[in-house]
């Protein structure tokens, strides 16, 4: 039993976590929910010994643990699989070396043993087996997929004395099949008495997997729930108020007579195999499908980020040959990428700076940027989008939802004619998500909005028309009436 007693942590006088008391039983899966910035990451960092000081105490089986160093947490069997799992893997080392890294560091095994000895290779295989992995021990760890890396990290923890395993948003980029596989491993661990903390934004997963759920809000414990869960109660605890609706209300509006985008027979390597669609102003078109169905590559090809091997793209009745994004941007076609931190934002620069960036040519016709006009523009956009948080500080300090609003909002001043969005609500909490859906809806009044999403409910909730992709091909195009959850699901896994 892991007990948290009045746990708190503050930075420069600002508390990120305050008076959190709860129990994490072994042999059970505890869901940890909360909006971005609610204190989940801080809590995880305290539990894994990341901070040298914190308030309150953590007791393991009645004994107080001084969690001021990561090694203390590990010594007591508390391990974590980070969302950015790459931080726990040494990419240039082999699978075996990664698995046995702690033994190597402790000097129990030398790197030469790992490469030479059959015994060590066998040991690596034994360590992998419980999580269902059967990798070549000599393979380079950096070449593995995200899902495999997660299992590798779990296996490594198992090889030490794993008592508590914290999974920080492990499913954010996994396919459905991989999620099932991960859940099977986690349930197996639970049977063996390991305590699991499962951090996620995805309510359905928490409700499916967890035995109990804790909700953090503004750094405090906002609720503790047991099975059976009620989604409404969880959402109310996360938001601090009940959520009336998950998706914006339908608006019937006429779509443009002529399509804004005409895509025909686009092929990109083995990812996209001859895809075509029409996108009209006045409607939201969702492209859905599993992770790896080719949605991202399709959007990137239209935007000039990948060179399509075949196929044509038309824009407002004219053929379009785009080799660099600036040619798309000149025409009013904009792209909101799936990875906002690494692709959508300049994370070290302020919200003002980010929002103004695409509009510099109009803010600075002579070349010199007018600070006054820049500020006016970015504040107008920020107000428009209801971005919460300081706009004159690096966007890194904003929550995920607010960052995403900046990533979308920077294009609004340019009056989009077509807006391509890739996973626009990934890692965005429920409250900000509805805001973003509303903006997508508003934007679609004058622009063709194409949303690629692997969240089928999202596609159903916001789209006027849905294209389902599987294995790089379009399985079907569904109107609002035909698109049921079951139908889309079936198509997304390749069944017709």
């Amino acid at each position: 039993m892991l007990e948290l007693n009045g746990l708190g942590k503050s930075f420069a006088g600002v508390s990120a976590l305050q008076g959190v008391s709860c129990e994490l039983p072994g042999g059970a899966i505890t869901g940890l929910l909360g909006a971005n910035g609610a204190g989940k990451s801080t809590l995880i960092k305290v539990l894994t010994g990341y901070y040298t000081s914190y308030q309150g105490e953590v007791r393991l089986d009645g004994r107080t643990l001084p969690l001021t160093r990561p090694s203390v947490a590990k010594a007591h069997g508390i391990h974590v699989v980070h969302q950015e799992v790459d931080t726990s893997i040494v990419p240039d080392l082999s699978v075996a070396e990664n698995l046995l890294l702690d033994d190597i560091i402790a000097g129990r095994i030398t790197t030469r043993d790992v490469l030479r000895s059959r015994r060590v290779r066998q040991e690596a295989r034994n360590v992998m087996a419980p999580v269902g992995l059967d990798l070549e021990p000599g393979a380079r760890a950096g070449d593995l997929g995200l899902h495999t890396k997660q299992l590798l990290v779990i296996a490594r923890a198992l090889n030490q004395n794993l008592r508590y395993l914290i999974l920080d948003e492990p499913t954010a980029s996994l396919s459905l099949k991989e999620v099932d596989q991960l859940f099977a491993v986690v349930q197996d661990l639970r049977r063996q008495g390991t305590g699991i903390v499962f951090v996620s934004h995805k309510l359905p997963e928490v409700m499916r997997l967890c035995d109990q759920a804790l909700v953090l809000r503004d750094g405090q414990l906002a609720g503790a729930f047991d099975r059976p869960f009620e989604a409404e109660a969880l959402v109310a605890a996360i938001l601090g108020m009940p959520l009336d609706q998950e998706f914006p209300a339908r608006v019937e509006r006429p779509r443009s007579r002529e399509p804004v985008l005409e895509v025909d027979g686009v092929e990109v390597g083995s990812a996209v195999k001859g895809v075509g669609f029409r996108a009209y102003a006045g409607e939201v078109l969702a492209i859905t499908g599993l992770v790896g169905a080719g949605k991202t590559e399709l959007l990137r090809a239209i935007y000039g980020l990948e060179r399509p091997d075949r196929g044509t793209v038309g824009f407002l009745g004219r053929p379009l040959r785009i080799r660099h994004p600036h040619q798309a941007i000149e025409r009013g076609i904009f792209f909101v990428p799936e990875e906002r931190r690494s692709q959508g934002l300049f994370i070290d620069y302020s919200g003002d700076w980010n929002l103004a960036f695409p509009s510099l040519s109009s803010l600075a016709p002579s070349g010199f940027v007018s600070t006054r006009r820049e500020r006016a523009l970015s504040r107008r956009l920020a107000d428009n989008l209801d971005v919460k948080g300081p706009m004159d500080e690096p966007v890194a300090v904003l929550s995920g939802g607010n960052q995403q609003k900046v990533a979308i909002g920077k294009w609004l001043a340019r009056k989009p004619k077509a807006l391509l969005m890739d996973e626009p609500t990934r890692g965005v909490d429920i409250g900000a998500r509805l805001d973003i859906y509303n903006h997508i809806r508003d934007l679609s009044a004058d622009a063709a909005v194409v949303v690629a999403t692997s969240d089928i409910d999202e596609a159903l909730g916001i789209a006027d028309r849905i294209i389902v992709m599987f294995g790089g091909r379009v399985m079907a195009e569904l109107g609002r009436e035909e698109a049921t959850r079951e139908a889309v699901m079936r198509l997304a896994v390749g069944a017709t």
């Binding site: 990120a16 620069y349 919460k388």
Partner: protein, 341 residues
């Protein structure tokens, strides 16, 4: 703390004061140290704070500043041009040779200097942008190519007017008075190099901070992928930065050649490390946290003040280096450690 904008209400009063002090250190740490240094030297060496001395001090820092600005613009795009010193040195040899051996007029000599810098910048950018070699490795290799190249060019000897060749002939050309006047002349009682440095530093500062192209350079340096997705031609901007770096280093070399009046070998080498140091100190000036023109000038000024002032106090050269190193650590330490808290 759902959004960081509303949270500071929890801060207690004394904490706030400490926070404010921390912010002050981040912002004014380097400038404070520079000011303390100037105050100390003014008291310790009466001749330090005189117009005549500052005339000399500013003139002395011009070459280092121009070369350092070259490093700065390469760092802005997240590159790193360490070939600037060797580039300046090459320009010294080329300009003096062009007068002594080839008897070119001053105007052509100046063009040749700038052209040399452009070519070096072009090669650097080809290596870094086209071939995608790591910036530091590519420009480090260039450093050796240019260092070796200038010695091959000059046959390993110092070039000067009236020098004799191996066959006993006298070198035909003279160093023009007009060329020497670039560094040695003055305008409104300030040496020309001070004006040139001020004009170029101001222009670069305006360009980087106030124009949209400067913004895009910083964007490219901060996140090339996001810059590309926002429509910037990343390769083109990086190329421009390396060209600018080459030209700035060449201008430094030109000033140096005109001050020396002879083509010494490897005259520019020492300016690379000082340029890197000035750029890094510049990160901390006013708590900007990125390479910037104003900060680099302050960094170069700090070095010039130390070398000038402590020479007056008869502190040997190597001790000056130590003092500079320690003060740099203090300045950077103050702003970086405090920021991390």
């Amino acid at each position: 703390m759902q959004d960081a904008g509303e949270v500071p209400r929890l801060g207690a009063a004394p904490r706030k004061r400490r926070l404010a002090l921390g912010a002050l250190l981040v912002k004014y740490g380097v400038l404070g140290i520079l000011l303390l240094l100037i105050v100390f030297l003014s008291i310790a060496a009466p001749a330090f704070l005189t117009f005549a001395n500052w005339r000399y001090l500013l003139q002395d820092m011009a070459v280092a500043t121009l070369v350092a600005l070259g490093v700065t613009i390469s760092v802005v795009v997240n590159g790193f041009d360490v070939s600037v010193g060797a580039n300046a040195g090459l320009v010294v040899v080329v300009t003096i040779m062009s007068m002594v051996f080839w008897q070119l007029p001053t105007s052509l000599v100046v063009l040749l200097a700038i052209g040399t810098g452009l070519v070096v910048g072009l090669v650097n950018s080809a290596l870094v942008v086209r071939l995608r070699l790591p910036d530091l490795l590519a420009t480090l290799a260039m450093l050796f190519v240019l260092d070796g190249g200038q010695q091959i060019l000059a046959g390993g000897q110092t070039i000067s007017q009236n020098m004799t060749f191996a066959n006993g002939e006298l070198a035909p050309g003279k160093i023009h008075a007009a060329f020497l006047a670039i560094s040695r002349g003055s305008f409104l009682d300030l040496p020309n190099p001070v004006w040139i440095m001020a004009a170029i530093a101001l222009a670069l500062w305006l360009f980087l901070e106030k124009t949209r192209w400067g913004r895009i350079l910083y964007a490219v340096g901060s996140n090339p992928e996001a810059a590309r997705l926002a429509g910037a031609s990343v390769g083109r901007y990086r190329t421009v930065a390396y060209l600018a770096s080459g030209v700035l280093a060449a201008l430094g070399g030109l000033l140096l050649a005109s001050r020396l009046g002879i083509g010494t070998q490897l005259a520019g080498d020492s300016y690379m490390l000082s340029g890197v140091a000035a750029t890094m100190i510049g990160f901390a000036v006013l708590g900007v946290g990125r390479a910037n023109a104003l900060g680099t000038v302050i960094g170069a000024l700090m070095m010039a003040v130390i070398s000038n002032g402590f020479t007056m106090l008869n502190v040997p050269y190597y001790t000056q280096q130590t003092i500079f190193g320690v003060l740099t650590l203090v300045a950077l330490g103050l702003s970086f450690v405090v920021r991390r808290r």
